[in-house]
Amino acid sequence: MTDAYVVGAGQSDYGSFPDESYRSLFRTAFEDAVESVPDGMDPDRIDEAVVGTLGVGGRQLGLSGPAVTEHVGLHGVPTTRVENACAASGYAVRQAVQAVKSGMADVVLAGGVEVMTDASGDAVRYWLGVSGETEWERLSGTTFAGVYAQMASAHMREHGTTREQLSQVAVKNHANGAKNPHAQLGFECSLEDAMSAPTVAEPLTLYHCCPTTDGAAAALVVSEDVVDEFTDDPIRVAGVGASSDRVGLFQRETYSGVPASRRAAEAAYEASGYGPDDLDFAEVHDCFAIAELMAYEDIGLCEPGEAGAFVESGATKLGGETPVNTSGGLKSKGHPIGATGAGQVVEAFEQLSGHAGDRQVDDPSVGLTHNVGGSGGAAVVHVLEREGVAR
C-alpha cells in the first residue's frame, strides 16, 4: 500500500466576510493550497476531491461538494461532500488519504468550507444545535455550549478542574492567534478578561467559547508514486485514526472525556508508530476551553484528570514541551465548522514546512491534528511527519 503525503495546504482568512460567498472563500483556500506546493502543481493533476461542510444556513445542502469544485475549475473531477459536523473536513482529509492509499487516486483535494455569520442570530442559534442529538438532548433545552458546559461540570466535579484553568486555555490560544494573520480573533486576552467575561453556559464564559466563523481550508494529498514531482521535502501522513460514538452526551460512558477522540488517537499512534511523547506540536479541537483540556487527556499528552494542571504548567504554550494550537485554535483562529479539520492540517503543514512565521515551533518533525464532530459523536486524528527527519 502506498503512503500518502500532504504537498500543499492553504486557507482563506477566518472571520466574518459579508462580501464573500462559500464558493469565493473556497476558491481562496484552493488557490492558497496550490500555491503552497513547493515545486508547483497543475490543478489538472487532481483526480478526486472531498469537501467537508455542515451547510450552516442551508444555502446549498445538496451537492455542496461539486458546487465548490466546479467553481474553482475542477470540472468533471469526482467530488464527494462529507458531513460529520465539526469534523467534516478532518474526515475529508482522511478520505483523501484512503483514496490515495487504495490506489484509486494519485492527487486528491481535501477541503472544507462554512459560512456562519451572514444569517440572523435566531437562524445561527438554530443551526448551532443541529449536530447535537435532536429529540432528547436538544429538546432538554441545551445548546452546543450547554453540552460542553455539562462536560465541564463533570470534569470539575471529578478532577477539581477550575475556571482559571479553563481560562488559561483561552489566554494561550489568543496569544498564538495574535501571531496568525489568518485568525479571526487575532488579539491577546488576559486571564482577567477570560475569567470575567459574561457567562454563556455555566461554567463557560464567552472567552471559553469559539466564535462563529466564515472560512475555507484545503489540503492536497498525493501518493508516494508522484510525491517527488511536487516537493523535495515531503510531509507524510504517518497515521490516521478515526472513531464514532453515540451522538447524545447522555448516552456515553463518560461525560468528562471524549471516548471517540481517545480511540482515534490510539489508532493514529498505532498506525504511525509514534506516541504522544514524540509530538512536537498538536492542533486540537478546542471549540470550548474544556474541549482542549479533555483533548490533552484523550490524545495522551497527560494522564486522565490532569489536564488542568498540565495547561497550568505551561507545557502547551509556544516554547513549551508540546505546544498545542499554535494557530490560535478554534478559539482564536476561528471555527468555520466544515473547514476546521482541513484548517488544522494547514497549520500542521506550515509548521512542518517551517513556514509558520512568528508562531513557528523550533524545527518540528512530528505533529498531530485532532478534529471532533459535535460533542464527540465523531473524531479523527492525523499524525504527520517530515519524512527523513523524524526519529
Binding site: D122, Y126, S140, G146, A201, P203, L249
Partner: protein, 466 residues
C-alpha cells in the same frame, strides 16, 4: 349516597406576586381581600397543575394510576379550547385507556360539577382533577385577582368523606363574568348591585335547598376576598365559617379550582362537616354538604416560596416578552413525538435482557453491550441524581426555547442518572425547573416542553427533590 372522597391532593405554583406590587405599578390594587396571588411558571398550565394535584391525591390515597376507572378534568382555562385533555392527562398519569373520561369547562362551577358527576357515576376508583389559572386584561380587577392552583380528589365507595346533601340552582344574570370565544381573558360589566345579586342569589338558593346542619367550614366561590363574605348572610353563614376554607387571600382567584381548593384546605384543617358552594356566571350555583366519618388523607402543596416583582410577573405571563422567532426551532414531528410519549410522560426505559443495562429511550442498540436486543420496558420511578449540569443564560436558548427563556429567564439543563429497581441507572437529559447542580437529587415533574405547529408537547423535566 355511598360514594365519597378517599383522598385529596392540591397544588399551587410556588411564585407569588403581592398586592403591594400591583399598587406600586398601578397606584391601586383592585382585588379586595387578596394579599398575594400564585403565578404559574412559563411552562405551567391547567394540565400540568392538574398533574401535580392528581399525583399527590393518588399518593395520598396510596392508589396506583392503573387502578383508576374514571377520570374527570375541570378547568375554565384548558390549554386547548377543543381536544379531550383527559387523554393527555391520563397518559401523563398512566391511567388505563378504558377509563371513563369527562371534561368540564366553561364555568367556574366546573370543579363542583365534575365532583357531582363523579358521585353520580359511582366509579370504583374515580379521579377528579380541577385546575385553573384565569387571566384578565392587565389593567382589569380580574387580572389583579387572578391566581392559579389545582385540587384533585380520589372518589369511590366506602369513603371517609361522604356527601350528605347537594343541590343546584340557577338565576339568569348575563354579563357578570364572561370570556368571549377566542379570548384568553375574562371580562365583566362591573355593574355593582346587579353583579352582587348575580353572585348572591343563586348561591343563597342552592344553599337554602340543602340540609346545611352545623358546618364548621364553608368553601364558597372566591373570585376575590370580599365576594363570599358579602354573600355569607344570604347563605346563613358567618364570616368565620367562610374563613375556615378560604384560599383566595394567598392564591388569588383560582376560578373552577376555588371551591375544590377550599374543600382541600378545610379537610386538611380537620373540618368535620363542610359546605362547598360554588358559583358560575350565567348564573348558577352548586351546594354540596360533606361529612367526614374518619380520617381522610390530604396532600397539600400550595405554599409559595418566591415573591416576584410586577415586572417579573408580566414576563412570566408573557405580556411583554418575545414570541418564538420566525426562523423556527428544532423540528420534531408530532408522529415522532407521539412515539416517545411513554418516555416523555412516564419515563419508560429499556432493560437489556442480556446485560441488564438500561437504555433511554429504549431504542437502538443496548448502551451497555451494543447488542440489538428486545428491551424489557420498565417505567422508572422518576428519582435520580444529576451527573452533569449547566445553565443556559439569557439570550442563549435555542429558538424553540427563546419564548420560555424570555418569560422565565435562564434555565438549567442536566444529565440525570435515574434510579431503577436494580443497581443500574438510566441516563437522560432534562430541563431543570429552578436549578440543580452536579450531585443533587432530583425528581421528574410534568411541564409543557414546547409548542410547534400549534401542538403543545408535554413531557418530564426535573426539579430538585425536597
Amino acid at each position: 349516597m355511598t360514594v365519597g372522597i378517599h383522598a385529596v391532593g392540591a397544588y399551587a405554583p410556588r411564585r407569588r406576586t403581592t398586592a403591594e406590587e400591583f399598587e406600586a405599578a398601578w397606584g391601586s390594587f383592585d382585588a379586595p381581600g387578596i394579599e398575594q396571588t400564585a403565578v404559574p411558571d412559563a411552562d405551567e398550565d391547567a394540565l400540568t397543575m392538574g398533574w401535580e394535584a392528581a399525583t399527590r391525591a393518588l399518593d395520598a390515597a396510596d392508589a396506583t394510576a392503573s387502578s383508576v376507572d374514571y377520570l374527570a378534568f375541570a378547568s375554565t382555562t384548558p390549554p386547548l379550547a377543543e381536544e379531550d385533555l383527559t387523554v393527555r392527562l391520563g397518559s401523563l398519569l398512566g391511567i388505563p385507556d378504558d377509563a371513563t373520561r369527562h371534561v368540564f369547562t366553561g364555568s367556574t362551577r366546573a370543579g363542583t360539577r365534575a365532583l357531582a358527576a363523579a358521585f353520580d357515576a359511582a366509579p370504583d376508583r374515580g379521579l377528579v382533577v380541577v385546575a385553573d389559572c384565569p387571566r384578565g386584561e392587565p389593567h382589569d380587577a380580574r387580572e389583579h385577582a387572578a391566581g392559579a392552583g389545582a385540587a384533585a380528589f380520589v372518589v369511590g365507595p366506602d369513603a371517609p368523606v361522604q356527601v350528605r346533601d347537594r343541590a343546584e340552582r340557577t338565576k339568569p344574570y348575563p354579563g357578570t363574568r364572561f370570556r368571549e370565544t377566542g379570548s384568553d381573558t375574562v371580562d365583566g360589566i362591573d355593574a355593582g348591585t346587579y353583579d352582587r345579586n348575580a353572585f348572591t342569589r343563586p348561591l343563597a338558593a342552592a344553599v337554602d335547598a340543602v340540609d346545611l346542619g352545623d358546618v364548621d367550614a364553608a368553601a364558597v366561590q372566591m373570585p376575590d376576598g370580599k365576594a363570599p363574605y358579602r354573600a355569607a348572610g344570604a347563605m346563613g353563614l358567618d364570616a368565620d365559617t367562610i374563613a375556615a376554607a378560604e384560599t383566595v387571600s394567598s392564591l388569588g382567584d383560582t376560578a373552577a379550582a376555588s371551591v375544590p381548593l377550599g374543600i382541600a384546605t378545610a379537610l386538611d384543617d380537620g373540618a368535620e362537616r363542610l359546605l362547598a358552594a360554588s358559583w358560575g356566571s350565567g348564573a348558577g350555583a352548586d351546594a354540596l354538604v360533606f361529612e367526614r366519618g374518619r380520617e381522610v388523607p390530604v396532600a397539600l402543596d400550595t405554599d409559595g416560596d418566591e415573591e416576584v416583582s410586577y415586572a417579573t410577573y408580566l414576563r412570566l405571563r408573557g405580556e411583554i416578552t418575545a414570541e418564538e422567532p420566525d426562523g423556527g426551532g428544532a423540528y420534531v414531528s408530532v408522529p415522532t413525538w407521539h412515539r416517545s410519549l411513554p418516555q416523555r410522560h412516564r419515563l419508560v426505559a429499556g432493560r437489556c435482557p442480556d446485560c441488564g443495562a438500561y437504555t433511554f429511550p429504549p431504542e437502538g442498540a443496548c448502551r451497555g453491550c451494543d447488542s440489538l436486543v428486545e428491551f424489557e420496558r420498565v417505567a422508572l420511578p422518576g428519582a435520580g441524581t444529576v451527573e452533569a449540569a449547566t445553565e443556559i443564560g439569557a439570550g442563549g436558548a435555542p429558538p424553540e426555547f427563546a419564548e420560555l427563556q424570555s418569560r422565565s429567564g435562564a434555565f438549567g439543563v442536566a444529565i440525570v442518572a435515574f434510579d431503577t429497581e436494580d443497581d443500574e441507572t438510566a441516563t437522560a437529559p432534562a430541563m431543570v425547573v429552578d436549578d440543580a447542580a452536579v450531585g443533587d437529587r432530583v425528581e421528574t415533574v410534568q411541564r409543557r416542553v414546547y409548542t410547534q405547529e400549534g401542538v403543545s408537547r408535554y413531557g418530564f423535566k426535573v426539579r430538585r427533590a425536597e
